[in-house]
Structure formats: structure tokens, C-alpha cells
């Protein structure tokens, strides 16, 4: 393929034009901040001084410790890789809906990245609410949103290991904090 053909192919390829979702910026920022807090690097100035001193036994040992710390951070991948995922299925209330979820365990809790599509439109003073449910039927609310066709980031204080069923309901905006039971999407999440 010559350069002109390659340029044509690239300009016609969807990945060339892809726009990341708006919330990815915050996800990236806090992933790096989490990593920096969990595994502080050796300061560059100190690293330079150590290089000038040569490969003393102390420097070799420090480098090994640093390498192990970085390796553990990469392999652990807690901030960078989803730990649970699942597909969500439509219910009778919203036969055209579908979605998926990826959940990452972070120091702050469980970050739930929900991609919900084709939800029925909301009425006045209504919103979508996401819940995690355990085997006993205990429901834990994990956030509300209003877009019927988008990606949203929610947070959970309970583990999907113990609360493996995710449901989305339509809720009236009122003083009743219990679920309305109007489920529009549901599915189980599984450890990756």
C-alpha cells in the first residue's frame, strides 16, 4: 500500500475519527493519581544521583525494589482494568433496551461504567436509577442518570461479588427512596 492509499484508508476508517466519551478524562486522571499514590516513583533527581554513583550494591537493591513495585502495579491493574463485567437485557417495559457494564475496584469503591442504550424516554419528574442486588433481594442504589442512550459512570460502595445483579429502573422524583419496580434493564455481572 503506498502512502496515498494508506492516507485514503486511514481517513475512511472509523477509528481515525473516534471521539472518547467525556467522562474518560476523569477516569484517566484519577487512575494516574491513584497509581501515583499507591506506588510513588523514585524522584528523578535521586535516580540521576544514583546513576552517577555507579552500580553499587545499594543501587541495585533499590532498583530491584522499584521494579517489583512497578511490576506489581502493572500486574495488579486495579485502577486500570475492569474487574467485573456483564451484559444487560431488556425487560417487558423496554423491549428495545440493551446495555453492558464494566466495574473496576478502586481505592474509593467500585466504579461502575454503564453503557445503556435504547431506554424508554422519561416523563416529567422521572429519572433512571441503577441498583445492585444480592441473592437475598437486598437492593443498593448506585446512582441516578437521565440519558436514555449513553455511557455513564456510577459508584458503588458494595462489591459486585456480593451484589451481582444490576438493574435499572425508572423512578419518580419524590420522597420515596424505595424502588418503583419499573425495571427497564437487568443482568448479572461476573468477575473477568
Amino acid at each position: 500500500m503506498n502512502d496515498l492509499e494508506l492516507l485514503d484508508e486511514l481517513l475512511a476508517h472509523p477509528s481515525t475519527w473516534v471521539e472518547p466519551p467525556p467522562d474518560l478524562e476523569d477516569v484517566v486522571v484519577w487512575a494516574v493519581v491513584d497509581a501515583a499514590a499507591a506506588a510513588p516513583r523514585i524522584a528523578p533527581a535521586a535516580a540521576h544521583r544514583r546513576r552517577r554513583r555507579g552500580a553499587s550494591l545499594f543501587a541495585v537493591a533499590a532498583a530491584l525494589v522499584a521494579a517489583l513495585a512497578v511490576g506489581a502495579a502493572v500486574l495488579g491493574g486495579g485502577a486500570a482494568t475492569a474487574d467485573y463485567q456483564g451484559n444487560l437485557s431488556a425487560t417487558g417495559l423496554a423491549p428495545g433496551a440493551h446495555g453492558s457494564v464494566a466495574i473496576t475496584h478502586t481505592a474509593a469503591g467500585f466504579r461502575v461504567r454503564l453503557d445503556a442504550r435504547g431506554l424508554p424516554p422519561l416523563g416529567d419528574r422521572e429519572l433512571y436509577q441503577a441498583w445492585l442486588k444480592d441473592a437475598a433481594g437486598t437492593l443498593v442504589p448506585i446512582g441516578t442518570f437521565s440519558s436514555s442512550n449513553d455511557r455513564v459512570t456510577l459508584w458503588s460502595g458494595v462489591s459486585p461479588h456480593d451484589f451481582p445483579t444490576l438493574t435499572i429502573t425508572i423512578e419518580p422524583i419524590d420522597n420515596n427512596q424505595a424502588s418503583s419496580g419499573q425495571r427497564v434493564l437487568m443482568g448479572d455481572v461476573h468477575r473477568r
Binding site: 472509523p14 477509528s15 481515525t16 466519551p21 474518560l24 484517566v28 486522571v29 497509581a35 516513583r41 486500570a80
Partner: protein
């Protein structure tokens, strides 16, 4: 491009997360300076944000090119910035970090591609049509360099010119159809397309050179 293991060739996933009916737009990147790079190296959120705002779209585009799915591309983008921070004691804060970050982005995306390809296989009917294990081998590094350079050149186009290039190349519209869609005179579309292609040609130079 290698397609040795191709069994299913789905349509690539949608390029944007815009709502149906929205006109496509291309957002221009900001620039990153010495202070931003020093802040990134320190793990300062403002520095991370500055680097992401300049290069996040490029990293995401390269990851999407390799992995073919929004979800995996976002994971790859996140990992790329974490790995960049882990290696940031090697940043020369006086230089444009684009080539350094491009190298991390490409290798990281290919690592994730290989990880996904190693996952236990299920029955073919249960596997998503865009599962990278089914579709292609990852592009070679040279092709990814070109993808990075083209995306960067597009980001540097004025928004109205980028929109015309996108409608022409990605959506396959004629210049008359673009004029109708945007409510512009045909001559305006022609001049924007001409200027855009001149800028792209000037910015790209030889595609096989090292990534800028």
C-alpha cells in the same frame, strides 16, 4: 494490513459517541508545556488532565484502531496514561512528548489485543462479532504510526474543514451532498475541502517517517 486469521469481518464500531442526528464535529487538541509535563511527572491531577486533553484523542484513536471496540480502547487509553506516568522520570520536559507517548500507546494497545486473543474461546455464536480474537491480527507498528500522524493532523485542522473531510471520507458523501447537509454553498465546501487536503498533505509529509 494483516488479516491472516480473519473469519468474521464486522463493520467497525461507530466512530463517535455522539447522539444520532448530531452533526459530526472534531474537537481540536490543546497544547502541552513544560509546566504541564513537570506536573504530570509529579502525579498532579492538573498535569494529567493537560496531557490527556492534548493527547487523549490520539491515544484513544490508536487503541481503537488496534482493538476495534470502544470499551477496550477506553481501557487501553487509561492504561497508557498510567504506564506513561510510571515511566515519566524519562520525560524530557523540554520536548514534545508525542513520540514517547505514541510508543507507549501502541505497545499497550497491542498488549491488550494479545491478552484478549488469549482468552478462552467460547462457542462462535456466543462471541461478539467485533471480538478482536476473531477479526484481525493487530496492525503493524508502521501502520499505527501513520494512524497517529493522521489523527494528529486532523486534530490540527480548523473544525469546519475537519467536518468536511470527515463527511467526504468517512461518510462517503459527495461535495454536493455535504453542501446540502451543512446548508453551505457548493463553492464553500470545495474551498474547505481543498484547504483541508492541502493542510493534511503539508502536515503529514511522508507517512512512513517517525511519528511527530
Amino acid at each position: 494490513m494483516q488479516r491472516a486469521r480473519q473469519r468474521v469481518r464486522p463493520e467497525p464500531s461507530s466512530p463517535s459517541r455522539t447522539r444520532p442526528g448530531e452533526l459530526p464535529t472534531v474537537t481540536r487538541s490543546k497544547s502541552v508545556g513544560r509546566d504541564d509535563l513537570e506536573a504530570f511527572r509529579d502525579g498532579d491531577p492538573a498535569g494529567v488532565r493537560a496531557l490527556y486533553q492534548t493527547y487523549g484523542r490520539l491515544v484513544d484513536a490508536v487503541a481503537h484502531r488496534v482493538l476495534g471496540s470502544h470499551e477496550l480502547a477506553e481501557e487501553a487509553t487509561q492504561q497508557t496514561f498510567v504506564r506513561a506516568w510510571q515511566a515519566s522520570d524519562r520525560i524530557d520536559v523540554g520536548r514534545d512528548p508525542a513520540a514517547w507517548l505514541a510508543t507507549i500507546a501502541k505497545r499497550n494497545a497491542i498488549d491488550i489485543y494479545r491478552r484478549e486473543a488469549r482468552r478462552p474461546k467460547r462457542a462462535l455464536d456466543d462471541v461478539a462479532a467485533d471480538d478482536p480474537a476473531l477479526v484481525t491480527l493487530p496492525p503493524d507498528l508502521g501502520a499505527l504510526d501513520a494512524a497517529w500522524r493522521v489523527r494528529r493532523a486532523i486534530d490540527e485542522l480548523p473544525g469546519d474543514e475537519a467536518t468536511v473531510v470527515r463527511l467526504q471520507h468517512l461518510d462517503g458523501l459527495t461535495q454536493q451532498e455535504i453542501a446540502d447537509k451543512l446548508g453551505l454553498a457548493l463553492g464553500t465546501v470545495k474551498s474547505r475541502a481543498h484547504r483541508a487536503h492541502q493542510r493534511l498533505a503539508a502536515a503529514l509529509g511522508h507517512l512512513r517517517e517517525a511519528p511527530a
